[in-house]
């Protein structure tokens, strides 16, 4: 049975989700920050983490965005194959949702219409829209406003099969160390391994939307996530990059089949303001 969904529903939800995501972090993120505050050894690091918890509380209570960089709006739509959109164009509806969210929600407009000419579009559009076709008649919407302090530190490495898992570990550590204080640690590190050049980058981005208290279902990947988190925390970068034991809160890794000749690895660095709102319609 085909289910009709009016694209206005996308607009209304995305508007609210832009505001929600920029003012409240998901419970797994808040919990991880709390734990880190208790375990951090560096006094300065502890002070930074305390400020972050206080900041989160204030943001929600007084409706001031958690961070002034309210990001570029990345929207994922997982569309059930039995869904039929009516009432307009999907891309327009998504952009309208972002426009209303950023204008009505007092969010910062951080998008320029052309990468070289660089004029601000003044409403934070266009969004980055990723769609996937999935079974069913529902649409899962994920809105993930992405700040660029951390985005700028993200990397893609086209490794060779001989580099193997050690190469993957090196690539992750290289990206994290290079990000250092610029990416507002404690970070969340999204990693894509395999696929093609663009697929691994997409997987890395999507990995950031996974709850940080959940590990990969593939045993060796789950192990790798734990090992890399420890290695990253051993760099000593710490909260705010001011030294400490909490450099990352989680490493989320997604994998996919790849070509016999390649081993693509993408690392999407995110700050502690790892924002995403999720709804199903």
């Amino acid at each position: 049975m085909v289910r009709d969904i009016d694209v206005k529903l996308l607009t209304d939800n995305i508007k609210e989700m832009c505001i929600e995501a920029t003012h409240y972090l998901s419970p797994d993120m808040c919990a991880a920050l709390k734990v880190a505050t208790e375990t951090e050894e560096s006094p300065l690091g502890k002070q930074v983490l305390d400020s972050l918890s206080e900041n989160l509380e204030l943001a929600g209570k007084e409706m001031i965005p958690i961070c002034q960089d309210t990001g570029m709006a990345v929207v994922f739509l997982e569309i059930g194959q039995d869904v039929h959109f009516v009432g307009g164009n999907v891309m327009d509806a998504v952009n309208e949702g972002v426009r209303r969210g950023y204008v009505d929600g007092y969010l910062r407009k951080s998008v320029v219409g052309d990468p070289i000419i660089r004029e601000n579009t003044k409403d934070n559009t266009p969004a980055i829209l990723h769609t996937e076709i999935v079974p069913g008649d529902k649409v899962k919407i994920t809105v993930s406003p992405k700040g660029f302090g951390s985005e700028n530190k993200s990397r893609v490495f086209m490794l060779t099969p001989a580099d193997g898992i050690e190469g993957v570990k090196q690539a992750i550590l290289t990206a994290v160390k290079d990000a250092g204080p610029n990416a507002c640690p404690p970070m969340v590190v999204g990693v894509g391994v395999g696929g093609t050049f663009e697929k691994c980058a997409y997987m890395a981005k999507k990995a950031l939307t996974r709850d940080i208290d959940k590990h990969s279902e593939i045993p060796y990947v789950a192990e790798l996530e734990k090992e890399m988190l420890e290695k990253i925390n051993n760099t000593g970068i710490g909260p705010g990059g001011l030294g400490g034991r909490t450099t990352a809160l989680a490493v989320n890794i997604n994998t996919y089949a790849t070509h016999i000749a390649g081993l693509p690895v993408a690392i999407n660095i995110c700050c502690h303001v790892n924002r995403h709102a999720v709804r199903e319609i």
């Binding site: 002034q68 407009k109 400490g244």
Partner: protein
Amino acid sequence: MSKRIVSVPLSKEDAKSLKVGDYVYLTGTIYSARDAAHKRMIETLDRGEALPIEMEGNVIYYMGPSPAREGRPIGSAGPTTSGRMDPYAPTLLDLGLRGMIGKGKRTKEVKDAVVRNGAVYFAAVGGAGALLSHCIKEAEVVAYPELGPEAIHKLEVVELPAIIVMDSEGNDLYETATKQYQRD
């Protein structure tokens, strides 16, 4: 431990007394400027014209706020990455700029200019925009209004928390602090 409050603009003596790793609270007047405003200021100087704000003794906060809700002076107001201002900062420091607030590492050129001029570089907590917003009591656009969030704002701040990450002798917390907590 009592709070150490430092008044801004920053006197030469105060700048000298601040040591790397100190956690201080700034009270007084500072200015916001980020990428586009810095580019404009340098272009202004290149044309031989005067800057829209005085540099001597002042502190620039690398920050572009989110819009203010009614009844508030400013929206979320945390630091942006300082490194993008590195090509411009030495010129401003040589004109008397005494402090910068941002986040992240700086180039050797900036460090040299900090030492040469007895200036300091502060970090504000990245991603604590709501908290920092609360320390800003008044905000007024004083130059380049057409740049929106990137305009230069004059900010009246009360106890804005900041950490000295580079002092006037060029000691760099980002270089030293990490080592202390590194494990193999």
